[in-house]
């Protein structure tokens, strides 16, 4: 079975590279999740710099 899996699951180069974090599908855990939830409860008001950036873009 193991041999079968080895031959069947031959990832492409891109797939293999993508398996290395932190490119995609990153899960936010622990203190990061806590900070995000705190932020969700009271989203920070945008800075003037961000407002200016939005107008230019």
């Amino acid at each position: 079975m193991q041999d079968k899996l080895k031959t069947a699951a031959k990832p492409t180069e891109a797939f293999a590279d993508c398996s290395k974090p932190p490119q995609t599908f990153e899960v936010i855990r622990g203190d990061g999740a806590r900070r995000l939830l705190e932020c969700a409860k009271t989203p920070p008001a945008p800075s003037q710099r961000l407002i200016d950036s939005a107008k230019k873009s």
Partner: protein, 175 residues
């Protein structure tokens, strides 16, 4: 003197010439040359390029990400009525790069706002409440030089995993 044609931001496809893309960072150069199309084909991510035709002046790669509620501190989600299996969706920016000849033109912020607009659109069209935009940086200098202008803040002890709330972005646009 001829005026440079305006750049449009479109989804990367086979007509775009990426082999000569150079931004001074080898990882960012190889990412668009070697991986961007295949990752899009596999459904991992989508790369958007700034182009006036076939040459690529810059790009941003985005993908979906999520924060599982089970990873939120229990005392913070109590009473909010959030299902235990719920995951708060985010938009993940994987790569953003501007080619050497286009530095200082404001293209970097344009690409960032393209990604932000995708998050804002997803929020309104899917009704799932995309939570915000997150990304990783390898060079901490970039936090001060580039990312802080978008109100990103670090959510990890090393200061490399950045996040900006969708509502902050919406307010910046006057939405």
């Amino acid at each position: 003197m001829a005026t440079a044609p305006p750049l449009n931001i479109v989804r990367l496809d086979d007509t775009h010439l990426v082999d000569d893309f150079g931004c001074g960072k080898s990882k960012l150069n190889s990412s668009i040359k070697r991986f961007a199309r295949e990752h899009a084909n596999l459904g991992f991510s989508v790369t958007w390029v700034a182009t006036s035709g076939t040459d690529v002046a810059g790009y941003v790669t985005v993908s979906a990400s999520a924060v599982p509620v089970e990873d939120f501190p229990a005392e913070m989600v109590e009473g909010l009525g959030i299902p235990a299996k719920f995951a708060a969706p985010t938009l993940h920016i994987g790569r953003v790069a501007v080619a050497n000849g286009h530095r200082g033109t404001g293209l970097g912020p344009k690409l960032m706002w393209h990604a932000f607009d995708i998050a804002i659109d997803a929020h309104s069209s899917l009704g799932l409440g995309v939570y915000g935009v997150d990304l990783f940086i390898e060079d901490l200098d970039l936090l001060e030089k580039f990312y802080k202008q978008f109100d990103f803040f670090a959510i990890d002890p090393e200061g490399k995993h950045l996040f900006v709330h969708l509502e902050t972005l919406r307010q910046a646009k006057g939405l």
